[in-house]
């Protein structure tokens, strides 16, 4: 469960490492291009997070190198640049996902999980949480073997919660993850509440305890206790 992080901004690196380690990942740090190149083969990484703007080299080159070296690993580009061409360029260089700074750590974790699922499990993976079972590739969700009919967005929301279990996730984070640019820009988070309400109701109707806790208006926590 090793994750390589190549990021020159120390403070941001610390944040990512702390959050990912809370999730049980182990992190290898590289603060510049050359360190990144040196540690590329050090582990069999689950996922590599690579900043494009490095002081001593082009992150994109590193992405290409990483892709050649470790074909099994997921690669997520984290960049301050948010242009379609750059996204396309990054994905063409071999990245699996592209995350624009500033991002939510919860979103980063959800994306790491999602990329890891795609690259390592070849689909067919089953995620469990208490009595809940989700088959992400099949878009199906079960509670005690009884199928729950969740919409696409509700399922994404559930997966987001499951990736960030026991963590407080903010409503802005949820909106950005589920809708991207179409999220918070609408000045209200009503639609987050609506989807959340529906997801909780459907799960509870199927006999699942309500695992979602509202945390002082700032966000939600999904945990067994």
């Amino acid at each position: 469960m090793q994750i390589l992080i190549v990021e020159d901004e120390a403070s941001l690196m610390e944040s990512m490492v702390s959050y990912l380690e809370m999730e049980g990942f182990r992190c290898e740090r590289a603060s510049d291009y050359h360190t990144g190149v040196n540690v590329l083969d050090k582990h069999n990484y689950l996922c590599m997070l690579i900043d494009l703007n490095l002081p001593d080299g082009d992150g994109l080159e590193l992405v290409k190198l990483a892709r050649d070296n470790q074909s099994e690993s997921g690669i997520i580009i984290i960049s301050a640049r948010n242009a379609i061409e750059q996204r396309v360029e990054g994905l063409e260089a071999g990245a699996d996902d592209y995350l624009v700074k500033p991002f939510h750590l919860s979103e980063l974790v959800a994306r790491v999980h999602s990329v890891a699922r795609r690259t390592h499990m070849n689909g067919g993976e089953v995620l469990g949480f208490g009595p809940i079972r989700v088959e992400p590739e099949e878009h199906t969700c079960y509670v005690d073997d009884q199928q729950v009919d969740l919409t696409r967005k509700e399922l994404d929301l559930l997966l987001y919660f499951m990736a960030n279990r026991n963590r407080v996730v903010t409503k802005e984070g949820i909106a950005d993850y589920l809708w991207g640019e179409y999220g918070g820009d609408y000045g209200s988070y009503d639609f987050v509440y609506t989807h959340l309400k529906n997801m909780r109701r459907k799960l509870m109707d199927a006999g699942c305890p309500d695992y979602v806790r509202n945390i002082y208006g700032i966000g939600y926590k999904f945990s067994l206790d």
Partner: protein, 421 residues
């Protein structure tokens, strides 16, 4: 109106007016002169008539040299001391037409009896002369005007050439932001214009570049600290030993950072549009684009109970533009129509060969229409908005020279984009 047209018109109007007055005066003077000539001639003829009457006893009336016609009859009781000049019409047997004649009437004493004599002289030759002269003058006027017209064109093509060059260059300044540098000027005024323009546009271009770089750098440099604050806040939230008070503070920080990063990314976008970094050209069907965005926005629309009505005529307009900008344009217009709508309101999207129209229900603007597309002008009733969406729309439209108009009627806001080609 063009400078050329206007100056030609001025000159033409003035010269026509002057020529008309001069013509009238000239005509009158000529006419009077020829009349008085005629009258003097008639007076001179009196002698001829007297001689003739003495010689021939006044029996016959016929033609005499210089006289077109003569009538002599007893004056009877008529008395007349002075000569009378007059005009009359006489029927000409030869041409079977009435002709104008000038006559001199006087009383001639002959052998104790008074004779009333009228000497006629045809005015046709003098009339002809006046006519000819008038015609020639008219011709001269026409020639003169034509000359003026061509001279004016010539002046404009040559003298003012540099001026028009300057205008062309200034027009391009809007897009290129390159200082306007004109060639050598041999006309003093244009040389001054050249210098003023150069200094002014150089400064403008410089300001523009600096502002652009500043925005560019600021937005970019802001991203990292924002990412740090955002991630640290998120980490802090995870802390187990925070009470309600601390969480409230964190929420305020979180919300503000979130807004700040959205603001930043929008400003980055505007800067990129201004820098013309969106240069792809694709054929984009607006109907399909609208459908796709409406689909993406379905949840926002449904949540507010908004009804959407689509009217696509002739398959809707197809535009050639950058896909990213097309998305931005439509997304922001629709977003605007959604968030400023009323609960259970409606949105009408129309596109035909020439335009794109988006209408939505909603309360009137809180500010003037002129400010609508200005940055940071926003509805205070809504929080979390920066008032950048429509200025983005405007920027995209400017980029492609689309015309965007806004109107408000019967609680309905209408945005109309018309395409120039």
């Amino acid at each position: 109106m063009k400078l050329l047209t206007k100056s030609t018109l001025y000159i033409a109007t003035l010269s026509l007016f002057l020529f008309f007055i001069m013509g009238v005066i000239f005509f009158q003077v000529l006419k009077n002169m020829s009349l008085s000539d005629l009258d003097r001639e008639l007076g001179d003829l009196k002698e001829v008539v007297e001689l003739y009457l003495y010689d021939y006893g006044g029996a016959q009336v016929g033609t005499l040299p210089g006289i077109d016609s003569l009538s002599v009859r007893p004056a009877g009781s008529a008395t007349q001391t002075e000569d009378i000049f007059g005009d009359t019409l006489k029927f000409d047997l030869k041409t079977e037409q009435y002709r104008t004649y000038r006559y001199l009437q006087y009383i001639l004493e002959k052998g104790g009896s008074n004779l009333l004599v009228r000497i006629y002289k045809s005015t046709t030759p003098t009339d002809k002369l006046v006519e000819r002269v008038t015609l020639m003058i008219t011709l001269m006027v026409i020639l003169f005007l034509a000359g003026i017209f061509f001279l004016n064109r010539f002046i404009f093509a040559n003298l003012w050439k540099d001026f028009f060059d300057a205008i062309e260059k200034l027009k391009r300044f809007e897009t290129t932001k390159e200082p306007v540098i004109l060639g050598e000027q041999d006309i003093q005024e244009f040389d001054e214009l050249k210098q003023v323009l150069e200094v002014m546009t150089r400064r403008l271009a410089n300001d523009y570049r600096e502002l652009k770089e500043y925005t560019d750098h600021t937005t970019h440099e802001l991203q990292t600290p924002l990412a740090v604050i955002k991630s640290k806040t998120e980490l802090l939230i995870q802390s187990e030993n925070l009470g309600a008070e601390e969480m409230k503070l964190l929420e305020a920080i979180n919300t503000s950072v979130h807004q700040l990063s959205r603001l930043n990314s929008t400003l980055t976008l505007i800067t990129r549009i201004e820098n013309r970094q969106f240069t792809e050209k694709e054929e984009i069907g607006l109907a399909g684009l609208l459908d796709r965005h409406l689909e993406l926005l379905q949840e926002h629309i449904g949540l507010r109970g908004i009804m959407v009505e689509k009217q696509y005529r002739d398959g809707g307009r197809v535009v050639i533009m950058d896909q990213g900008l097309a998305d931005l344009l439509v997304a922001n217009l629709l977003k605007n129509a959604i968030v400023h709508n009323i609960k259970g309101g409606s949105i009408v999207v129309e596109t035909g060969p020439g335009n794109l129209v988006i209408k939505n229900d909603g309360p009137p603007l809180e500010f003037s229409q002129e400010e609508l597309f200005t940055r940071f002008v926003r509805d205070t009733r809504r929080t979390g908005s920066f008032g950048l969406g429509l200025s983005l729309v405007k920027k995209v439209c400017e980029n492609y020279e689309f015309k965007i108009e806004y109107s408000f009627d019967q609680q309905q806001h209408t945005f109309t984009i018309t395409f120039p080609y």
